[in-house]
Symmetry: C2
Subunit: 582 residues, 2 copies
């Protein structure tokens, strides 16, 4: 064992020369197109959708392809009567929820109530054939309805100009669909990843709060309510008003394609509404689908979700009602169709108060205050993002809340990239391990050597900062040493976390080296990764620095520095802890 | 030595239990405000401007403060006659360059030539008192002039409406100044860091190309030239035109504050132009100032630069002419003033051809094709950014080129955050070191153990990706092992590069653990940092995982896995390489 360990460290031979046992490898050159292909694959196809097609005969490939695009072919052949019984019960259960919810959510979007029912009839059939989650119950979504109602209501008054408003709403939904499908086809599912969990918690809570306030209209029986969604306008409207009951038409809807309006002054509003609605619905839907996938151990494919469709809070009911496959969606669609054809007149008498109450009770479930408390405990910045989204939605508007929360989340990511945390490392006693001296206060510093861990890849966004920060660490260390009469000789940069570097980063290293040379200090690199070594080699920085000053581990670098300190520049007052290597 | 090494690794006592010598520490709780203060300090004050004020008596503090805001107080008292001689020569040298350049650059911005001279007269005096670089020669900048000419020229024709154009140009410059000062006062210098070196090389080259094309007007003696800056419009204009000589007025300029126009339809254009000009000039100026600072070993303070002023290509001349302090700027300002008062009539006869030639020769120096070749060799993506900026400026417009280049640069940073590179680690023979198997092809894999290096902090932007990627690594490994009849038992995540984690990231770890549990695999963490340990602790993930499954190094984690594999689940066919620990 002692032997094996001995091999790890630089060996000083009799004549005082030093050789390293573990050189740092420069990876073999890779063609530009191969590495480009790799990057594109990891960026756009992280789920490796063609994985299961590998090494399969052509007939099997065709079947797998069909199953990939239409999962119904996957579970269809294995479908049993037992599954159907479960799905029937689940389907009827969610239909009984879908009908009043559909009507209520249509009212949220200021649309004729019957449109809410149509949306619980056609989309589930599409999803049953193309969607990848077995639990998602597809239909109207509270947040999407609210977004449409709020963003379009700003531009067009739905009571004064109902036809234009309806056309705009349908156009916006059309664009939401086109946008979602485009994201899916171009494999841009990762855009949805930029809405963090904290953003969604805050945003949904804020939207739910606004909806509850809006429903004061129905519950208190008010007329002439405000279309604005901010809390001040709503509270002002509460203190004003007579009673009104939504009237429902009967029958199936003709195709609404002729109602899309692609011209006119409001097209950009419709597109904007469509995009915002599409992204938010997707983010919500994927999050919901994912949490159910957790329990049943299958994967949700974000990109397929987008092509097929979105999201829902009704999914929980579907799941609890024991659904087995997407057939529950078909059952629900049939139930809603029967309702549309036969039972609609009954809903004529559903009082607005009831609809409002349904909405309010559903909304309370969306205000996830426990999640907000959890965020506060674990991550203050996430809590800030969450609260910004919440108050942005409640006090300003849905879009403003969303923009603030996304901007804050991105700012944090950019700040991490712009201001990575550099750490000073120390030696963990009786080992060759070097760790952050703040986390491990019992570490020992190494005399004459400053060890810095650069905590992130070095890009143009942080190269200036890192240059300044390294200089400051050195200044601090020299100030500290001045009192004890020691001098700093080596600066070791631990590159373990530097997964990549760009040309600005290389310039930073070159300037740092010049700066250290001027101060009579020696720059040493430890543990640079493959990408970094490749670029440092191409830019000739390795030649400038000297290959012998690049080490595989911080431990080896320190050994060598100590060896040089004690054999080449003999000084008094050394602690001798590494003298067994001299 | 063998002893010291033995202490690093888990020790199995007689009764088969295991204890670790090096626990992973959870850092002591830190108050929210203390850590907030720290973050704000590193973000906004990375240069630690108050550093020199520490532990100083109040009188000294006042003097240092005065010197900080007005560096003239620092070098003023030490100023000698020798310095003055150098500065005098440098000042006259740059004045001889500043006068024709000022006139030329004013023409670039479609402004009366004399304005170019004014700008070489007042700003240098301000900079001499407040700026931090001793070499920067302040005056008009080619790129800023071009930006103003191009952005405003799109909206207002300078020949048809010269007064409005002049007012807008002055308003834009005013906003550029306000914006720069605001960035400096609010310590937002890091915004400039988002313009990478590659962006600036491409952008400057493109701008210079456009300027050279524009000067075909002067050199070929054309009239009625296009105001557009794209290559097609310019070439079309070249084939059309009589001669024209810029006329210069004499005397000093009255204060131009009354010429600012804050109302009217063009205010937003003026503001936009001002902000773009401000940022680009600053980025250029700081880059130039920094490279001179390299040679003379002092630091440029980005935030102070912004308060005091910007940039220049004339700085190189100043530096080469042997300037010692900013007094060279004062000398230049005086020389320009004399020119304005006395010599202007002489410049009346400077032919436009001469002005154009001055501009063209200066511009050729800005097309840094060698830097572009270097980018191609070292970093293909940086080359792409550079070329996008270049062709965007040349074929579309200055703003479009800038926007494309910044967007591409940011996209790369965001992609790094959204798609970090995960690596499989293997054991370097005869050591306890674990490194990337692609970089070190001679590493050995450890039977039954998959070791993954998560290459970046885990944030909401990459948590979905990482979950999918980890699953895919495990699938691949199990496929590989299937043929040899072995089974995977442990998945070790090396968290060395995970400098931080947010709540989405913690959820990812929780889901990964559930997923592994279902597949009968054990999740093991190695080397989590201070921030990560703190948050994993607060979110109870450490409890869920079990403190005993968190190790200080990958080596220790592998030792423990091997110990468990060989002592708790005895199997045949083990390689026995770690059996000395059992």
């Amino acid at each position: 064992m002692g032997n094996a360990d001995y091999d790890e460290y630089p060996i000083s031979s009799m004549n005082g020369e030093m050789r390293k046992k573990h050189p740092v490898e420069i990876p073999p050159p890779q063609s530009f197109f191969k590495s480009l292909k790799n990057t594109v694959k990891e960026t756009l196809f992280p789920d490796d959708p063609l994985r299961q097609f590998k090494n399969q005969p052509p007939r099997r490939k065709f079947l797998l392809g069909l199953q990939y695009f239409f999962p119904i072919f996957e579970w269809g052949p294995r479908y049993t009567f037992d599954f159907f019984k479960s799905d029937l019960i689940a389907g009827i259960t969610i239909a009984s929820l879908a009908i009043p919810q559909g009507i209520s959510y249509a009212k949220l979007a200021n649309l004729p109530p019957i449109l809410g029912l149509y949306s619980s009839f056609v989309p589930p059939l599409v999803y049953a054939v193309m969607g990848s989650s077995r639990d998602l119950a597809v239909g109207t979504v509270a947040v999407a309805s609210l977004l449409i109602g709020s963003m379009l209501g700003d531009q067009v008054n739905p009571t004064e100009n109902p036809t234009l408003y309806l056309h705009l709403a349908l156009t916006a939904t059309f664009f939401a669909g086109v946008f979602e499908a485009a994201l899916g086809i171009f494999r841009l599912g990762f855009i949805v990843d930029f809405l963090s969990h904290a953003t969604i918690v805050g945003f949904m809570g804020g939207a739910a709060t606004v909806v509850i306030l809006q429903q004061l209209k129905g519950i208190l029986g008010l007329n002439h309510f405000t279309q604005s969604t901010d809390i001040i306008s709503v509270l002002r409207s509460v203190f004003t008003q007579t009673h009104e009951i939504g009237e429902l038409k009967k029958g199936l809807n003709p195709l609404s394609i002729t109602n899309l309006s692609f011209g006119g002054a409001y097209l950009s509003t419709a597109i904007k509404t469509g995009i915002v609605t599409g992204v938010v619905s997707l983010a919500e839907g994927i999050a919901v689908g994912r949490s159910f996938a957790m329990y049943k151990n299958y994967n949700i494919d974000g990109n397929k979700e987008m092509i097929a469709f979105g999201p829902f809070s009704r999914s929980a009911v579907n799941f609890n009602a024991g659904c087995k496959t997407a057939v529950s969606n078909i059952v629900m669609a049939l139930a809603v169709m029967v309702t549309l054809l036969v039972l609609t007149p009954l809903f004529h008498y559903t009082p607005l108060v009831v609809l409002s109450s349904i909405i309010v009770s559903a909304m309370f479930g969306l205000i996830d205050y426990k999640a907000a408390i959890h965020l506060w405990h674990v991550d203050k910045f996430d809590f800030l993002v969450c609260m910004s989204a919440y108050f942005g939605v409640v006090f300003a508007s849905v879009e403003i809340g969303l923009v603030i929360a996304v901007a804050l989340s991105l700012l944090r990511v950019l700040l991490f990239v712009a201001r990575p945390r550099t750490l000073v490392l120390g030696n963990i006693p009786d080992s060759k391990i070097y760790r952050n001296i703040e986390q491990y206060p019992n570490t020992d510093t190494v005399e004459g050597v400053l060890i810095l861990d650069l905590g992130a890849p070095i890009y143009f966004t942080n190269s200036s900062y890192l240059r300044e920060r390294i200089t400051r660490w050195i200044d601090d260390e020299e100030d500290k040493l001045k009192s004890s009469g020691e001098t700093l000789q080596y600066v070791i940069l631990d590159m373990g976390a530097v997964s990549n570097i760009d040309t600005s980063g290389i310039s930073m290293l070159e300037e740092t080296k010049k700066n250290l040379d001027r101060r009579d200090l020696k720059l040493v690199l430890a543990n640079p990764g493959a990408e970094v070594m490749k670029k440092l080699n191409k830019s000739k920085f390795i030649e400038t620095l000297g290959q012998e000053w690049i080490f595989l581990t911080v431990g080896e670098a320190v050994e060598s520095c100590n060896y040089m300190l004690h054999s080449c520049k003999p000084k008094s007052g050394t602690d001798g802890s590494f003298s067994n290597n001299v």
